[in-house]
Amino acid sequence: MTFDSRPPGSSRRARRTVLTIAALSGALLVTACSPSSSGSTGAGAGGDGKVTLTVWSWRVEDEAAYKKIFDTYEKAHPTVNVDFKAFKATEYNKILATGLAGSSGPDVPQVRSYGQLQGTVASKSLLPLDGKVDLSGWDENVVASAKGKEDGKTYSVPLARQTVQMFYNQGLFDKFGITAPTTWEQFIAGNDKLMAAGVTPIAVGAKDDWTLPIVHEVLAGSRFGGKAFQPEVLAGKKSFTDPDWVASVKVVGDLEKYMPKNVTGVAQTDAQTLFSAEKAAMIPGGSFDLSVLQKANPGMKIGIFQVPPAPGSPSGSSATTAGWADGNFAVSARSKHPNEATELVKWMTSKEFGQMVNDDIKQISAVPGVEPTDPLLKQMSDNYTNSGSPYLLLTDFRYGAPSGTDLLGKGLQQMLLGSKDATGVSQDLDTGVKAWFKPSA
């Protein structure tokens, strides 16, 4: 054996060695625990007296547009340098949570809206903007996206209004003599005509659960009463077991025959490809899908419509466009340049910025009174202004876990798979959100 028989005392020495190692790593840990001395963002005043503001976003695909927009800002504010950085959308929440908690984070981060903003607010990572930015005259539902639920303060400036509606292929509609429907009967007749011709009427990607609450809003938003339903359910006068809500869930199930076969196996990208390849005539989608669809098949003429109310809809309910706000920008509490950062988000409430959001980013700006130049975006924007409603599960039921959108997404999948009916799905949704939702009344 190679091991010496140890002389007495060696074990004590060994113990000392171990202790030294432990102390050494301990020292490292202490350094690690202590807050960093700089304790602020990496961006600082440059040698030329300029202030650099770091802006973070999850819109990698809009990087060029954002850079152009911030160039305009830099020209008007010669002492400010905007450093725009975009990260992968699916990992952004992680990057933001860590980035705001430590040093070398952003000055002006793009933040989530409504419920998903609350964690960031609770971390005290953002500066309240009350009295600094003016959101009066903005859509109430849009402003709600920027607020802390607990303290009611404003923490961000909404970037865009997203709307959901039905996209359709104008060429295919013309070919089969269909026009954008204004009544439910026309809508169903159109679907039947398309199906008889071997075209998939409605492309839905039910494999991705997050798309399904959107599909529900597009197809049946008016069936549960649209805008009128929100105050009632928030006050606790109605719940998701309400017959009108259950019936709206059932509408999605009843239309399954118009969707691709084995719809729960169809991914959202597959659904978009079906539409772009002109194998499907309609696709429920968001305003954020427009540029994707236009790019995928530039030769195709796309139109949009609001799905008319299904039979039995509450009286006074009309076709509606559900919407919400997102892409909000905020000011980090750790920013070294809070004044300059606040000035930048304040500029984001201006019409100048709003117009660029419309024209360069191709989203519907949240700034009131700014008109999109793209005719389809304008139509979406007008629809929302004239007959809009909140995308209820997103705007009001994401303030806890499980979220309303997760529950309905899973529930609709179960319904399409045949393992639950509309009543069961609605019941699960109701029970699920009651884990954290307390009516205001």
Binding site: A14, L274, A401, S419
Partner: protein
């Protein structure tokens, strides 16, 4: 080598490991015992966060389901790699000329990131454009052209099969190596006594492979309980469709980063701690059983 020399040899690894692995993990576990408001820590919470896992939605429904899927993932992987994988290794062992080439080919999918693997198989299995269903329909097996990833009855098994497909090179290599260690005289002697190939395999070779199978099993157990990348690539963070490919790591991910709950760090850390305890307990139990078995065969 003296003990002190030995400790000097261990020191660099220990220091790195302590700082970059142990310390963050222990910190993560400690998070489970505090109240949280976003990323700011509140007071001591005792076991409250753990209680949450067993009393509050969505954990009460999602956790047992996710855990079951982890276990099925383990069992399924074990079944396939210890039958199909072992058979392949055994067949390869008697083909020394093509062995290396085939072993290399089987290990190829391991080189590709699971995210990419998930994406490619989703394309292949898509009910709208996928060639698998197109092929099945063309050869008249319409009833076999299933939605695969769209049906809870098949989705989990697709995830398991693709995972085995990606990793099979590893057990094949290890079993091949273990077969090389089986003394030839023993199987030869059995054949001389009139045993068939099959009898020689089951009576002589297989019992001697148990330690190798054991090692592979324990590693597979750890791997299966931590499964994340592939399920995420197939079913997203919610385990589509209808939660049928949900796993504990996905639940952690949703809780920690996607939820609107402001105390997310507390409950997600409790979940991470629980997962570690399960892995630790399982691996410990399996190792004890194997140790006893090994003592028996070497005695």
């Amino acid at each position: 080598m003296r003990r002190r020399t030995g400790l000097v040899f261990v020191a660099p690894a220990l220091a790195l490991f302590a700082v970059f692995v142990l310390y963050p993990m222990v910190t993560a576990f400690s998070y489970a015992f505090f109240h949280w408001q976003g990323t700011s820590r509140g007071g001591f919470a005792g076991v409250e966060n753990f209680a949450t896992l067993f009393t509050r939605a969505p954990f009460t429904t999602d956790l047992p389901q996710a855990l079951l899927h982890n276990v099925l993932f383990f069992v399924g992987t074990m079944l396939i790699q210890n039958t199909f994988g072992l058979t392949i290794a055994y067949l390869l062992y008697s083909r020394p000329r093509s062995r290396r080439v085939l072993q290399t080919l089987y290990a190829m999918p391991y080189l590709v990131s699971p995210i990419v693997i998930g994406y490619l198989w989703t394309l292949l299995l898509s009910p709208t454009f996928g060639p698998v269903n197109t092929l099945l329909t063309r050869i008249g097996l319409d009833s076999w052209a299933l939605p695969w990833l769209g049906d809870p009855k098949t989705a989990l098994w697709v995830v398991i099969l693709v995972s085995v497909w990606q990793w099979i090179g590893f057990p094949v290599l290890l079993y091949g190596a273990a077969l090389g260690g089986v003394p030839e005289e023993l199987t030869e002697a059995a054949r001389v006594d009139g045993a068939t190939n099959r009898q020689a395999f089951f009576k002589i070779t297989l019992p001697l492979l148990v330690p190798a199978i054991g090692t592979v099993s324990v590693l597979t157990f750890i791997f299966a309980m931590e499964a994340f990348a592939l399920p995420y690539a197939f079913g997203g963070s919610t385990g589509n469709p209808a939660g049928s490919t949900d796993f504990v790591s996905l639940l952690f991910y949703r809780t920690a980063f996607d939820s609107g709950a402001t105390d997310a760090i507390g409950s997600s850390s409790a979940l991470a701690t629980l997962l570690f305890l399960i892995i630790f307990g399982g691996a410990y139990a399996a190792t004890s059983v194997l140790r006893r078995h090994e003592r028996r065969i070497t005695a």
